[in-house]
Symmetry: C2
């Protein structure tokens, strides 16, 4: 993997000086075009051997291009806000918006390689991290991002010479490399595990570029040209990514569906409801202040037919709690800032810290429901969303977040009754819009989308719960009970 | 101040039950109107005596209204990200957007009263904090926010009884009040300093409401009605706030202006430039990695005539540094999310943590420059901006942020030369837009705005530096030298 980056590549000063002006001009032009199109972000990952010119190269890129459109992010120590959330949160919060370039020093690769080098975990866990990185990058590319991955390399001999030179240079001595790099074993392990990582994560959509770091002219020119070529190609690409033709999702041949199998006639009488509601609310209040909750967070996503009673169910959940513990996030059309980011960014923004509870009133499932049915995204966009969402929820679960997801189901007649009732009550009229009536006409399409969604995203770590919601009392109690059971199950596992 | 909140106000259950349904309905309607107008945010500050029903009331408001449009924020321990920035940053980052309601538990008032009660500082500092709060609220109200300030009160006897009752209640015993409330002296000091704070911060635009907290019916109904009345009045108010007629800014009678007094002929020859540039860059690099920098952050704001060379000067500053240390923020038209917040919010977002450096390419001064000249805000908006900006910068300075501000000045002929030169170079053409030519026609209006700006916002803590920029070399070196001197001055004071 690294052989050809240890052979002493070099470019003489004259060639360098002759080539740089045109390269700079072209890079600047590409950068302005990137900003003007504002169609995709550029993410540059910087990794490799200590002393191989990572920092110098990034500095140079900032000089060559317009630094106002480059965001350089270094990920050192996690802050306490980052430590209280899933590991990827720190990267999501720093993603560059469309039209910008983000340079990530100390990204997910350095984190996993460092961890393995220092024996914090074994290869099996390294491979898990590798798979996670692959899925993240695949998703970012599918969302349009252009990713460059640079590995700056030095042979062991070159590195030792370089560290020595840096140490002797008064302008650099303040930046003495971490002590462990002085050790021969660190280099060996770093290269060994680096090789494993590069081998598995070099993909057509985000290949690694291994750059020999000894000669500054060589490495600078190489990086600059790779960037330029990649940028120009992406800027010329058609506005819409070319979609592979997508095979349709199969459906059950006997016409039976999951939603049909629900017994919507289930109900609770008023007394049972009052007793059970109070009991479940007290149980939830107790669970959320349980000491185990310090290791967990709670996320509840509410989806359902229009007028199925999401708002009412959410209010019954909230009523159990101290308002300082929870946060309700209503999901509407994305804002400008949100549209400039990958689809899941707006949800990552809202992920609760440990000990907290976030309720999503509609959720990331909009991608495979309304966006699918209304044609707001392409078929391949919503098709790949199933996997992306499963990844997202698995990351939450791995970080101790308990994820519960509800589909509140009513039948078509019940919906009609409720629409008509709402239109009669002045202060409820705002709840019914033309959109609701239009959605109703697409009842069958939504049913299909819901069934596909549940089939593909009901997982062990984040199962769907279908709620029979023709009877609001039944629905509210079942929602609360489901949350309570999920928390108790998670707490039990802690022991 | 608190006398009438110790007389045992109470409302019987029947009256309460009879009044609540209509109140709830009206509150819900007002809340929906608030969301529909999305014209202003509502900020509810919750303060007062322990056990007086603060938490219960907020919980009730969440039940009565639509909790999806209420954001409850509690400010307990500062996170390390908050501790690394000016104190107010934590409040700015949690401000509700227009159309939303934000409930602030543990806000600036609790912080200052707690501090004084526990003898962390004396009255003089308390009064400074009070003045800061006043200015913050004045600004929020001028930006359209509707602020409610509730003080929940109990007499000492009532409080003791209440704490006892809470302790005996199994449903509440988990929430035993902080130990210090058990002490009689804490109550006395809390009430004494609370009285001082309320007395000085009850203003027409944001008055305090003292609520006796003993009887839940009384306090709930009182708060609900106050909220409703305030909301309804604000929703009915004309879209544009009524502006007091604003006295014009006076100008010097002899026609002499600050910008005329600049000697724009100053220049540096190429050799001097190269020497001095390299020297100042090295000095800056050294200062930013100086150990004193750990206590400071650096903010540089660049303003200037179009084509005055802001971008070039910023690049020369950046070139001195490791890209991980700085962040360049180009200021363009505000996004949707930014428009939903007070004017200064987008700049607060970007305030660097200690040890870091943020460069603003254009800045908050847009308010008194382009927005003033182009009529993008009302006269009273930009008139009050001078004071708001001085407050903002003083807060930065008090937190150790070194603030430097540059106006890069060129004359009209030089601008014309540069515009024409840019239009000839293909990869610079993007830098010239129709806007630039239009701005040029308003040269005199901009000159007036700049002179007013410098007169009113060049302060000891954040002085303006006018840069003679006809000669780019002169300008770049002066910019770097000014930053270096400001840092050295700040470091000297640390000793």
């Amino acid at each position: 993997m690294f052989e050809s980056a240890e052979i002493g590549h070099a470019i003489d000063k004259e060639t360098y000086d002759a080539e740089v002006p045109a390269l700079r001009e072209a890079l600047l032009e590409a950068q302005n075009e990137l900003k003007a199109q504002a169609r995709f972000p550029v993410i540059i990952l910087i990794n490799g051997i200590e002393g191989a010119g990572k920092g110098e190269t990034v500095k140079l890129l900032n000089e060559w291009m317009d630094p106002r459109l480059i965001e350089v992010r270094s990920f050192d120590q996690q802050t306490d806000e980052e430590l209280a959330r899933p590991a990827a949160w720190r990267y999501w919060r720093q993603l560059p918006a469309k039209g910008k370039i983000g340079v990530f020093f100390g990204n997910w690769y350095s984190q996993m390689i460092q961890g393995r080098v220092h024996r914090e975990f074994k290869n099996a866990q390294l491979d898990q991290a590798i798979n996670g990185a692959e899925r993240l990058e695949q998703m970012l590319c599918d969302e349009g991002a252009l990713i460059f991955k640079f590995w700056f390399h030095l042979s062991k001999k070159q590195m030792k010479a370089r560290l020595k030179a840096l140490q002797d240079d008064p302008l650099h001595s303040w930046r003495i490399s971490p002590l462990d790099w002085q050790q021969s074993e660190t280099y060996d392990r770093f290269v060994r595990f680096g090789e494993r990582v590069l081998r598995r994560t070099s993909r057509d959509y985000a290949p690694w570029h291994v750059i020999e770091g000894v000669d500054p002219h060589y490495r600078s020119l190489t990086v600059g040209k790779l960037l330029l070529e990649g940028l120009q190609a992406a800027l010329k690409a058609p506005t819409e990514p070319l979609h592979q033709s997508v095979a349709p999702l199969g459906h059950s041949l006997d016409g039976k569906g999951l939603l049909d199998s629900l017994d919507l006639s289930q109900q609770l009488d008023k007394d049972d409801y009052n007793d059970q509601l109070v009991a479940e609310q007290a149980r939830l209040a107790g669970l959320l202040r349980h000491k185990h909750m310090r290791r967990h967070a709670l996320v509840a996503a509410f989806e359902g037919n229009d007028a199925a009673g999401k708002g009412g169910a959410i209010r019954r959940v909230a009523a159990a709690l101290d308002p300082r513990q929870y946060n309700i996030v209503p999901i509407a059309a994305p804002t400008q800032d949100e549209l400039a980011q990958p689809y899941l960014w707006r949800f990552w923004r809202q992920i609760p810290a440990r000990g907290k509870f976030t309720i999503f009133d509609r959720s990331w499932y909009g991608r495979v429901l309304v966006e699918r049915v209304e044609g707001l995204c392409s078929t391949s966009d919503w098709m790949r969303a199933y996997g992306e969402i499963n990844d997202f929820e698995e990351q939450l679960a791995n970080a101790g977040v308990v994820v519960v997801k509800f589909w509140l189901a009513i039948d078509k007649d019940t919906q009609l009754e409720r629409f008509e009732a709402r239109e009669k009550v002045p202060f409820k009229r705002f709840k019914i819009t033309d959109d609701d009536w239009r959605n109703r006409d697409k009842w069958e399409q939504y049913r299909e989308a819901v069934e596909d969604m549940v089939d593909r995203t009901s997982t062990e770590v984040a199962p769907w719960t279908l709620i029979e919601a023709n009877d609001k009392r039944w629905a509210r109690v079942k929602v609360l009970r489901t949350i309570n059971e999920a928390l108790e199950k998670a707490f039990k596992k802690d022991k």
